[in-house]
């Protein structure tokens, strides 16, 4: 809670505060002396050092546009903090950097993903996918052999493979083909080739430096089949079952019917019958993810029900927590109350427990058959599994339990800010307790608290944890759809994206997230606009 939002109650203290320097002025003063300069130089030096390190890494990985951006940004930062006419920028820059890094960048990334088919089977680039399909299409031909293998150099220094077949036949494989050699020229011990007459075996570290050369090395056998090294001492006869035709940008099956697989614009090669090759690649799909939201019955059918529950959940959680928090704050506001601090501390406990942990504990406490709550109360209430309405009730109760300490703290502070003259005057004018609260305290309180209520609403609108850890969206709703009775939009999005099709539908998930963003933004904007009216109370 910011102290600026709550003016000091004591008029004497308030006037003392205005005569002293304001906090920002003091900070500026602290950074103006020699000591300040030293601190500034150290911080700036650290920032520059970090930038230089990042630049080296970017240069190493060949990310040139990012490098240019980094250099320009660093120079701008230096100019701002070393210059003397850029005081406002000095205050704005750190905030802006964090805003860009943690808000703007993820949003841009999400928007970008929403227009692609990024999902299981579509995460590579097209070039990588083509390479993948080629390597995945390799298969042993009929009567394909496996060999013990040792890479070696011949007299002229070119790479060859010394091979021993499973029946003991020995060969030397070159780029031209397989050449039988007498068995006694190849030394074999314990299944490994130890020597070959006329060839120098490559051993140790030299072998690892060959990795790329070795993996590209093939010894042609029959047709398109070839012996390829598999690891460091095995070679296998393999033939590709698909051939990539770069000119036509198609894959052609080389065995059986010569099926042609074309790039169908959806990030994959597919045959005319819809048979697709894996892996596919990431590609732009325009607004397909958005139209899927409208056209896909999985999304469309339960949408209104889920949306209504999401709004109800967020609204009720916020209102109930605020009501409970405010009630307790007023109840504990009496000065001179014994043990006041102890009570206040105890009430903040739910806020201090990590939410995830508290939710799991509640899920255990409320278990229909084995939970402590039913056990102690000697009842059999289906808190979480048995009934949709009870599950919704439990979720709202637990969410309220988790949130009310926040509003308790906020209300406690805000109550202090209401000048006592106003309430006293109202009492003198003959207002009852309830009337004073309704007409004076609450409106004044709302000026401070309303933005927090809206923020809390937006937070709960997307409160994935509460739903997922308590009921995982269950129990089943009446319409028996994928969305459970307690699924809110975000938990349903999660189910849609990770538990449909092949899973991992990040594109669709991003599209739904953007939709949710617009819903929350609209509700919040309208509410903020309405709360402006509240400020006229003053």
């Amino acid at each position: 809670m910011s102290s600026a939002a709550v003016p000091a109650k004591d008029p004497q203290r308030a006037s003392a505060a205005t005569s002293a320097l304001s906090a920002p002025t003091r900070i500026v003063a602290a950074f103006s002396g020699t000591r300040g300069l030293l601190v500034k130089i150290l911080l700036l030096g650290a920032a520059n050092a970090l930038a230089a390190w990042a630049a080296a890494v970017l240069a190493d990985r060949g990310r040139w546009p990012a490098l240019v951006g980094l250099v320009l940004a660093t120079l701008a930062i230096d100019a701002i903090y070393l210059g003397s006419r850029t005081v406002p920028a000095k205050f704005l820059v750190p905030g802006t950097i964090f805003l860009v890094a943690f808000q703007v960048a993820p949003i841009l990334y999400t928007v970008n993903v929403a227009f692609t088919n990024y999902s299981t089977g579509h995460i590579l680039s097209k070039a990588e996918a083509i390479q993948g399909i080629e390597s995945h299409s390799l298969q042993p031909p009929d009567n394909g052999q496996t060999y013990s293998m040792a890479p070696a150099r011949d007299a002229s220094g070119s790479l060859v493979l010394v091979l021993v077949a499973d029946n003991g036949d020995t060969f030397v494989g070159t780029k031209k083909g397989l050449k039988p050699v007498p068995r006694d020229t190849v030394g074999v011990a314990g299944g490994a080739i130890t020597s070959a007459k006329g060839y120098k075996l490559i051993k140790g570290p030299a072998l690892f430096s060959l990795d790329k050369e070795l993996n590209a090395f093939t010894v042609p056998t029959k047709g398109s089949a070839a012996i390829r090294p598999e690891g460091l001492d095995t070679a296998v006869d393999l033939e590709p079952s698909l051939r990539y035709d770069a000119r036509r940008d198609v894959f052609v099956r080389t065995v059986g019917a010569h099926t042609v697989y074309r790039d169908d614009g959806r990030g994959r090669f597919a045959s005319p019958t819809g048979d697709e090759l894996e892996p596919g690649w990431v590609t732009g799909v325009g607004t397909k993810n958005f139209s899927a939201i409208v056209n896909n019955p999985l999304v469309r059918d339960p949408f209104l029900r889920v949306f209504a529950w999401t709004v109800a959940f967020a609204t009720l959680t916020v209102l109930l927590s605020f009501a409970v928090g405010l009630f307790l704050a007023i109840a504990l506001d009496k000065s001179g109350m014994p043990l006041q601090r102890v009570y206040r501390s105890i009430l903040v406990v739910p806020y201090a427990i990590p939410g995830g942990l508290a939710l799991l504990v509640w899920a255990g406490l409320l278990n229909d058959d084995f939970g402590v709550v039913n056990h102690i109360l000697h009842v059999h209430v289906p808190w979480l599994f048995g009934s949709a309405w009870w599950a919704r009730t439990s979720i709202i109760l637990v969410s309220t339990w988790l949130t009310f300490p926040y509003f308790f703290l906020v209300s406690m502070g805000a109550l202090q800010s209401i000048p006592s003259e106003l309430t006293e005057a109202a009492r003198v004018d003959g207002g009852g307790r309830w009337q004073v609260f309704r007409r004076v305290t609450l409106p004044l309180l709302l000026v401070v608290v309303a933005p927090l209520l809206i923020a809390s609403f937006a937070f709960n609108f997307n409160n994935f944890n509460n739903i997922y850890l308590l009921t995982a969206g269950g129990p089943a709703a009446g319409d028996q759809s994928l969305a459970g009775a307690t699924d809110i939009l975000i938990s349903y999005t999660y189910k849609l994206s990770f538990a449909t099709g092949k899973g991992g539908a990040y594109g669709l998930a991003s599209a739904v997230s953007i939709l949710i963003f617009f819903i929350v933004a609209t509700i919040s904007a309208v509410s903020f606009w309405r709360t402006k009216a509240l400020e006229n109370v003053r």
Partner: protein, 423 residues
């Protein structure tokens, strides 16, 4: 003021150039090592494993590394996150070898993140066929993407102090209900579901009622457009689920911790679980026997889980592809490595030669209970099945007010079809 700024600028410039020099020299060093790998410690293989296996993966890989002259860096990851992390990792930080579960195979291969392996015929012969199939994937001819190292499945643990190993399903049902009455427990058989459902632990019951998930094709692959979640035979038997629900034989509110609690506190004598829970039973001093769940209408078989090691596509970019393949499809497949990799996690090794060297009564009992089991489907479409199949069980076994099993499973089958088609 101007002098101060000049001074500040100078200091900054010095700091920047120092940092830049340090950074560039390290960058150069890394560039140099790429250019001439003959330099000392040139080849490093990065292996991702989970905490449980860390010590033994260290041991196995360092023995291999010493004979080959390769440095192995073993990085500990949360097991469940390895598959997802592989999708987004930068090439420079990516692993060359990962440990994984066989049911990741389809997704990883469809994403193009793992390389096909071609171990020698003599090596393949040492593995049960299903364990290799479990790591194989491909719509047009399956390829092997991992070397199995350990097998796991669930079975029925019987508290022999309270009950005897059931002779048949009827025997199990009547014993379980009698004990439930005596102890006042809410269920007869402890099998975990929880709010989200658990199709894995319910599979023996599912298969016992003649359910299957995907039809097996002639080539041994799985056909995602033929779903057996609500096949005729299963629906005909599904009234049994309603009966179990009304008599309280099983309950969806039992999750993993309540299931364990029920068995260890001797509220029930039957627990459907895996080898990972044998230790707590031993520690509690409970006498037990491990058996396969008796056949209900069909054989009640468990899902088979196979874990193993895979070579990633990043090994190619790192220039260690052949070394990584040597480690995985050659060295880790050997009986010696298999024994240490599997026992580290108290599982049975996949290699049959290694299996003969294991003398642990519980592990071999779990092995026997796996007979006829079905490898968990490894195609990515399985993502569309877990939730609905699990929730069909939850809906139909939640006690009073449960949905009729016939309706719950038919709905699940319908949803699964829509989801697979919609993806």
């Amino acid at each position: 003021m101007k002098r101060r700024i000049a001074l500040g600028g100078l200091v900054v410039a010095v700091l920047v150039s120092l940092a830049a020099m340090a950074a560039l020299s390290s960058a150069q060093a890394s560039l140099k090592s790429e250019a001439s790998p003959n330099a000392a410690a040139a080849t490093t293989i990065v292996v991702w494993t989970d905490q449980n296996r860390k010590a033994d993966v260290d041991k196995v890989t360092s023995t291999w590394g010493a004979t080959r002259g390769v440095d192995v860096k073993v990085v500990v990851k949360d097991f469940g996150q390895i598959r997802d992390a592989l999708k987004t990792i930068a090439v420079a930080d990516a692993p060359d070898v990962i440990v994984g579960a066989h049911d990741w195979t389809g997704e990883l291969a469809a994403n193009g993140l793992v390389l096909p392996l071609f171990p020698r015929a003599a090596v393949k012969k040492q593995f049960p066929k299903y364990s290799l199939n479990a790591f194989s994937y491909g719509k047009n001819g399956a390829r092997l993407y991992g070397i199995p190292t350990q097998l796991e499945n669930i079975a029925l643990i019987v508290n022999t102090g309270m009950a005897h190993a059931p002779k048949n399903w009827k025997d199990l049902e009547s014993q379980a209900l009698k004990i439930k009455k005596r102890t006042g427990s809410a269920v007869g058989i402890a099998v975990q579901q929880g709010s989200g459902g658990d199709a894995y632990h319910m599979y023996p019951f599912f298969s016992g009622l003649c359910g299957y998930i995907f039809q097996t094709t002639k080539t041994g692959g799985l056909n995602p457009s033929n779903i057996g979640v609500a096949n005729k035979k299963f629906l005909a038997n599904s009234a049994l689920i309603d009966k179990w629900n009304s008599e309280g034989l099983i309950r969806s509110s039992v999750d993993s911790s309540t299931a364990q609690d029920l068995f260890l506190k001797q509220k029930t004598a039957f627990w459907v679980t895996g080898p990972w829970n044998v230790d707590p039973v031993r520690k509690a001093g409970i006498k037990f026997k491990i058996v396969q769940i008796p056949a209900i209408k069909c054989k009640s078989v468990p899902f088979l889980g196979v874990q193993g090691f895979m070579v990633t596509k990043y090994s190619t970019a790192h220039g260690v592809e052949s070394a990584a393949k040597d480690l995985v499809s050659n060295y880790m497949a050997q009986p010696a490595a298999q024994v240490s990799l599997a026992l580290a996690n108290s599982r049975f090794p996949a290699n049959t030669v290694a299996g003969k060297r294991v003398h642990d009564s519980a592990l071999s009992a779990f092995g026997k209970a796996s007979l006829g089991g079905v490898p968990m489907p490894n195609i990515p479409e399985m993502n569309s099945v877990w939730g609905d199949l699990g929730s069909a069980w939850v809906k139909s076994t939640k006690g009073p007010g449960a949905t009729k099993a016939r309706v719950a499973f038919s709905t699940a089958a319908k949803n699964i079809r829509i989801k697979i088609a919609g993806g």
